[in-house]
């Protein structure tokens, strides 16, 4: 059987679509349509769930932090830890007004993540406070402004205060 014209036309159409699609994918390679960063809070075994429910004044709590970079470029990042309440949580645009207690920094390439254990310091908590919030904010170093910029990403954990 010789090559049928209709079969040949269908095969050619498939090849045209496949080649144009492949070329487009190749040109778009490395282009990040939706750049973002992410932060996650994990328990002391670096797993989701089973977070501590109580903390004591002047103690440390072991937790795990996860940071992911999908900005399409290397990032110099830091996680800032503050102790606050449900009234002093950060927003998408502003960080928490509470003072920073600790911070952890690192450098991540595009599509890289970092998961690391942290010993979170719990400072002296006033006697009348029964519930506090551990706040972790993700900041990145803006290479154009030469300063740290809040990403609008944070995680928090509400815990009771044990006496």
């Amino acid at each position: 059987m010789l090559l049928d014209d209709e079969v040949f036309a269908v095969l050619t159409a498939i090849v045209v679509v496949a080649s144009v699609f492949s070329a487009a994918m190749l040109i778009r390679e490395g282009y990040v349509a939706e750049p973002f960063t992410a932060i996650g809070l994990l328990n002391e075994n670096c797993r989701i769930g089973e977070y501590p429910g109580y903390v004591r004044s002047n103690s440390t709590v072991t937790l795990c932090l996860y940071v992911y970079n999908h900005e399409g470029k290397p990032l110099y990042w830091k996680v800032v830890y503050r102790l606050g309440s449900n009234k002093t949580l950060p927003t998408n645009t502003t960080p928490s007004p509470e003072p920073a207690i600790q911070e952890w920094r690192g450098v991540l390439g595009h599509r890289q993540n970092s998961t690391f254990k942290v010993a979170v310091r719990i400072p002296e908590i006033p006697l009348n406070t029964t519930r506090v919030t551990l706040i972790f904010e993700l900041w990145v170093y803006d290479v154009n402004l030469h300063t740290w910029v809040y990403t609008g990403r944070w995680v928090h954990l509400h815990v009771n205060v044990a006496r």
């Binding site: 090559l3 080649s19 040109i27 470029k73 290397p74 003072p99 390439g109 400072p123 908590i125 170093y141």
Partner: protein, 147 residues
């Protein structure tokens, strides 16, 4: 007169305020010193990555330097930063050639991909016919007798 519980509470509040103020003052001071070294390097590495230079190793070393600094080993951290500065300078020297070769490879691959349908359209019927005849090389053609 203040009761003893009030005094204790005031003392705790003072201690809390003091610890927060120490944290506030100490953190930026410690960060700034490292940021002055790492910040410009990250900027240079970002420019390199935009020029399609593989900076994964450099990024890993910078991360190591930051971790060393935060763990208190500042001498080793600075040594790593200095070696990264040398490496980044070397990569900046090679960036022009790396970017050019990347673009040449990219455009050549895209051109080859876009040429595929034309080659397919012109060559496939010929190849198909050649194969068809090759497979039937030994065949004998007989004219069917008319009734």
């Amino acid at each position: 007169m203040l009761s003893s519980s009030c005094v204790a509470m005031l003392a705790r509040l003072l201690l809390l305020a003091l610890s927060f103020s120490i944290a506030l003052q100490a953190l930026p001071a410690l960060s700034d010193e490292l940021d002055e070294r790492i910040g410009p390097l990250v900027e240079r590495v970002t420019r390199l990555s935009e020029r399609h230079v593989d900076v994964s190793r450099v990024v890993g070393e910078l991360d190591r330097a930051v971790k060393l600094w935060d763990s208190g080993d500042r001498g080793e951290a600075l040594r790593v930063v200095e070696s990264v500065e040398v490496e980044v300078s070397r990569l900046e020297g090679e960036a022009g050639f790396i970017e050019l070769s990347y673009r040449v490879k990219l455009y050549a691959t895209v051109a080859a991909l876009l040429a595929t349908p034309i080659l397919f359209y012109t060559l496939l019927p010929r190849l198909y016919l050649a194969l068809w005849f090759r497979l039937r090389r030994g065949w004998v053609v007989r004219v069917a007798s008319r009734r």
